[in-house]
């Protein structure tokens, strides 16, 4: 989720002050530092890969999420639960809010999704076995705008027939189905895709989070079991 911009480095180099640095900017500068930093011959340790054992040891709800522009997914742990909305936070404090498996908010990832909700029973928000998924739902997205109220866009979404599928998520293999979701609205259309097991648990989901960030690929590593 650490989006990088060459401009970051340029801006950070051309103007500096006492204001302090955003950790995400700092991370971007370090990644782009090769342009200006001197050669460092010291071999760097490869970044540590998160394992299933790490997740189980932490014993905290966890997801992995990736914007399409990101090279690799980011690990996020459950940090707060408020009325069914669970906030997952990365090490850089970027956040995704889930209601069940429905992404209802993002923070710090580029262009925030302020909120999202649905009309009608939503199998993403409430665990529903694949055979009982409704034909479709109407989805609403609240995006940043001028004033207290965000800009709300709506889409009529329908679920395509499920197709059997297998999926390995952080060393665990799951069997289930994948269900495409086609959404159309006055401002355009998009397609979500969900991997669901027979109990209705959504383990991986590709969800639209707004016109600028487009799709987030989210995998559930350790489901939230509270509330």
């Amino acid at each position: 989720m650490k989006r990088l911009f060459a401009l970051v480095s340029l801006a950070a180099l051309t103007a500096c002050g006492s204001g302090g640095k955003d950790p995400i900017v700092q991370a971007a500068i370090e990644e782009f530092g090769g342009f200006w930093s001197r050669e460092d011959d010291t071999p760097k340790a490869p970044p540590r890969v998160v394992t299933r054992a790490d997740i189980e040891r932490a014993d905290v709800a966890a997801i992995q999420a990736r914007l399409e522009s990101d090279a690799s997914p980011t690990l996020m742990y459950g940090a707060a639960s408020n009325g069914g909305f669970v906030t997952y936070s990365s090490a850089l404090q970027q956040q995704i809010v889930l209601r069940g498996a429905q992404i209802t908010g993002t923070r710090g990832m580029g262009t925030d999704l302020l909120a999202s909700w649905s009309e009608g029973p939503d199998p993403l928000a409430r665990r529903t076995p694949p055979g009982s998924w409704p034909h479709g739902v109407r989805r609403f997205y609240e995006l940043p705008a001028i004033g207290p109220k965000g800009e709300v866009v709506s889409f009529d979404c329908h679920f395509e027939p499920p197709a059997p599928a297998e999926m390995t998520i952080l060393q665990l293999r799951y069997q289930g189905v994948q269900i495409p979701e086609i959404c159309d609205g006055p401002t355009g259309h998009f397609e979500n895709l969900h991997f669901v097991d027979s109990s209705g648990s959504v383990w991986r989901s590709l969800q639209w989070v707004g016109p600028k960030m487009d799709l987030v690929d989210m995998q559930v590593l350790e489901p939230y079991t509270g509330d």
Binding site: R3, F5, L7, V8, A11, A15, S18, G19, G20, K21, P23, I24, V25, A28, E68, A80, N82, G83, F85, T87, L92, Q93, Q95, V97, T104, R107, G108, M109, G110, T111, A115, S116, F140, P144, A145, I146, P148, K149, G150, V153, F155, A165, M167, T168, Q178, C183, T187, G188, H189, F190, E191, L193, F195, R204, L206, W208, P211, D214, L215, D217
Partner: protein, 714 residues
């Protein structure tokens, strides 16, 4: 089988962006206005679009600044230079000319038949070199193919026209005044006048080659005067212009043209829109997540008597806020309420800083605390107190329409001069240092006939706050590229003390320039009244003492202010000297500020005495956007005659402020400010005070906070 992973990888190809493709932004002509090549069109730029362009052909070059003031009204300020203009004394005389255009779109293109129609006025305040009026229509008749046709007066009727139909109404319409003396006065007498009315038109084709547009037009401008100089080598052989434009990026367009049968032209356009930031505006860390208090939690207020716990608590809050670039200045608390005073060093939107603070308090404060009052300080000045109920925060966080709900349940009032309730505690954050180095491009555009002079300087700005409201600050600029030469003792075009016409002298040479060195004390008299006292080197050309009072209730869209200064003119060659000009003056104004609430338009009317000792009034109108962009214009009329004032007849100019945040993917409160004045004249000149009160507090009234309140949860 990793079907989902595979599907994810192909998703961008199969998933259309959930946003309709917007029509392409209309292109600009060589006058900087929406149009063909040298002729205008009836299309309009997107609302608030700001463009700067440079064009050149033959012996003419133009620097244009265009702003779409409102969805149907645009204005272009131009600085043109025309080589070999010639006059009786100097055949090679190069003309530098300033002009202002205004265009009104009367009709928007609609349906199959209705074209867009616009009425335009060129050079309405200048010397009349480009004076023209036109009525033009444009229609997209096929996909990506737009046809434009129009009728014009003035320059746009200088070739191939017919008799001006207004001549049949009155003979006076057949005569067009072309001498505008000092310039700067409206050219109403000349509008739609002249013997002829001309016809112009053209086509624009946005080709299948991505970003490439082809244009062709027939011009009704004879360019008579440009060919009249004894040394002029430009020749208008044909009325036809053709060219191609390539939109390099959404904000940069390059154009090349063959013009008037004899010359090649170019056009470089850089364009941006306050509504369309260059970078993602929400990249960064998220807020502290809000967990609701457990229903059965212990809400005892006994902690309030535990000094050790409070010290730990306040330091923890301070540390958490500091991660977001917020300094905790002071805090007061009771068992069920807390007030914090914060300094937002970094976050561009104040409601976001307030929301972040509320989230930290929700995470950190004991369960008994129900009410959070948050007061942002600006240069030590307590602005507005925003009070939120913790129960509301917990109930609203992450929900749909949380922004509206929180706005409706938040209490906003003017901050008291001192912390009001409970036991106060002030962190030992003083002295508080703040500094920044920033490369600053400056352009001396309107320096009489000295031409267009860009310069790059390195600006250092530093300040130290010694206690709330009491600070010392300095600004130094070091030229890096583009030295201004010292004009020496020159005479201005008017008859006033040279308070501004010597500006170039103050910025000449490679030496570092001490722009400002002041001591300031800012304070509040009550919830609605603010005060300021400043002393020192107040600006590059003047030093002295300055005092100001502002009455601006938070709930009110308008305010009143008064300022009084006694200053002496600084020595341009000595950082601390005052003896060179031996000029002192008492200057000051009473001001009315009004935020109209309509398209973000804000007005300021000031009346009083100006730096040259002249008395008069200034009306400033600006359009201020929620993200901090502001584009404005001002005009000053004083008791000085046009002759005594000199070229330009009265003081006027444009102001532009761009938040750096708009172009950077990280939080910063820095802005890039520009002030385009029509001429370096001496009449109607204000003292350039840094810490004027209204600009400092206006972002904290109810209207402004509401515009950005969506950021509260971000």
């Amino acid at each position: 089988m990793l079907a989902l992973a595979a599907a994810a990888s192909i998703a961008p190809g199969t998933t259309a962006p959930a946003q309709e493709t917007a029509p392409p932004r209309p292109s600009l002509n060589l006058y900087g206005a929406t149009g063909l090549i040298d002729m205008p069109s009836a299309e309009a730029q997107p609302d608030a679009q700001v463009s700067a362009s440079y064009s050149q052909f033959g012996n003419t070059s133009r620097r244009n600044f265009t702003f779409q003031l409102l969805p149907r009204i645009s204005a272009t300020l131009r600085y043109a230079s025309i080589k070999d203009w010639g006059n009786s004394d100097d055949p090679e005389y190069k003309l530098f000319d300033r002009s202002l255009d205004v265009q009104f779109q009367l009709l928007k293109e609609r349906g199959t038949w209705q074209p867009s129609v616009a009425l335009g006025f060129r050079d309405v305040l200048g010397t009349g070199v480009y004076s023209a009026e036109y009525l033009v229509a444009s229609k997209t008749i096929a996909r990506d193919f737009t046809v434009t046709g129009g009728i014009g007066w003035g320059r746009l009727a200088s070739v191939g026209g017919v008799t001006n139909p207004f001549c049949s109404m009155s003979d006076s319409f057949c005569e067009r005044k072309i001498d505008y003396d000092e310039g700067g006065t409206p050219t109403f007498d000349a509008m739609f006048h002249g013997e002829d009315m001309g016809f112009f038109g053209g086509v624009e084709w946005r080709t299948p080659i991505d970003k490439l547009t082809l244009k062709a037009e027939i011009s009704s401008d004879a360019y008579t005067r440009e060919q009249a100089g004894p040394e002029a080598d430009f020749e208008r052989k044909s009325p036809i212009n053709v060219g191609a434009e390539y939109r390099l990026t959404p904000g940069i367009t390059l154009g090349g043209y063959y013009m008037y049968g004899s010359t090649v032209g170019i056009n470089v356009v850089v364009s941006g829109n306050p509504y369309k930031p260059l970078t993602p505006q929400n990249l960064g860390t998220g807020p502290v997540p809000i967990n609701p208090r457990p229903a059965n939690a212990n809400r005892s207020g006994a902690w309030v008597n535990d000094q050790g716990a409070k010290a730990t608590l306040t330091e923890a809050v301070a540390k958490a806020l500091n991660a977001d670039g917020i300094t905790l200045d002071a805090m007061s608390y009771t068992a069920d309420a807390v007030e914090v005073r914060i300094i937002n060093r970094q976050i561009s939107q104040d409601p976001k800083a307030i929301g972040r603070t509320a989230a930290v308090l929700a995470a950190a404060m004991p369960y008994s605390v129900e009410r959070f009052s948050i007061t942002p300080l600006q240069n030590g000045l307590p602005t507005t107190t925003v009070t939120v109920q913790r129960t509301d925060l917990e109930a609203q966080a992450n929900r749909p329409f949380a922004g509206v709900q929180s706005w409706e349940t938040t209490q906003i009032e003017g901050a008291l001069p001192v912390l009001a309730q409970g036991q106060s505690w002030r962190r030992d954050v003083y002295p508080l240092w703040s500094w920044a180095f920033i490369p600053l491009p400056t352009v001396q555009i309107f320096g009489g006939n000295d031409g267009f002079r860009p310069q790059l300087t390195l600006q250092f700005r530093g300040s130290v706050s010694l206690s709330p409201g009491l600070s010392a600050s300095a600004m130094v600029r070091q030229p890096l590229l583009g030295e201004f030469s010292d004009p020496g003792d020159t005479e201005s075009s008017g008859n006033l003390p040279q308070v501004r016409s010597q500006s170039k002298r103050y910025y000449s040479g490679w030496d570092p320039k001490l722009i400002r060195l002041t001591g300031d004390y800012l304070f509040k008299l009550n919830r609605d009244t603010y005060g300021r006292v400043s002393a020192g080197l107040l600006e590059r050309a003047f030093g002295g003492v300055s005092g100001e009072v502002l009455w601006k209730p938070v709930e009110q869209s308008w305010g009143l202010g008064a300022e009084l200064n006694y200053v002496a003119q600084r020595d341009p060659y000595s950082p601390f000297g005052f003896g060179y000009y031996d000029y002192q003056v008492a200057t000051g104004h009473a001001s009315v500020y009004w935020d109209t609430g309509w398209y973000g338009i804000e007005t300021q009317l000031s009346a009083g005495r100006y730096l040259a000792g002249d008395w008069g009034a200034t009306l400033a109108v600006s359009r201020r956007f929620a993200n901090g962009w502001a584009v404005g214009a001002y005009a000053t009329k004083t008791d000085v005659s046009a002759e005594d004032f000199g070229e330009g007849s009265f003081a006027k100019g444009l102001t532009l402020s761009i938040p750096l945040r708009w172009s950077t993917p990280f939080e910063t409160r820095q802005t890039i400010d520009g002030n385009l004045t029509s001429l370096a004249n001496n009449g109607g000149a204000f003292l350039n005070i840094q810490n004027r009160l209204y600009p400092m507090v206006r972002e904290y009234d109810r209207n402004r906070l509401e515009r950005n309140w969506g950021a509260f949860w971000q």
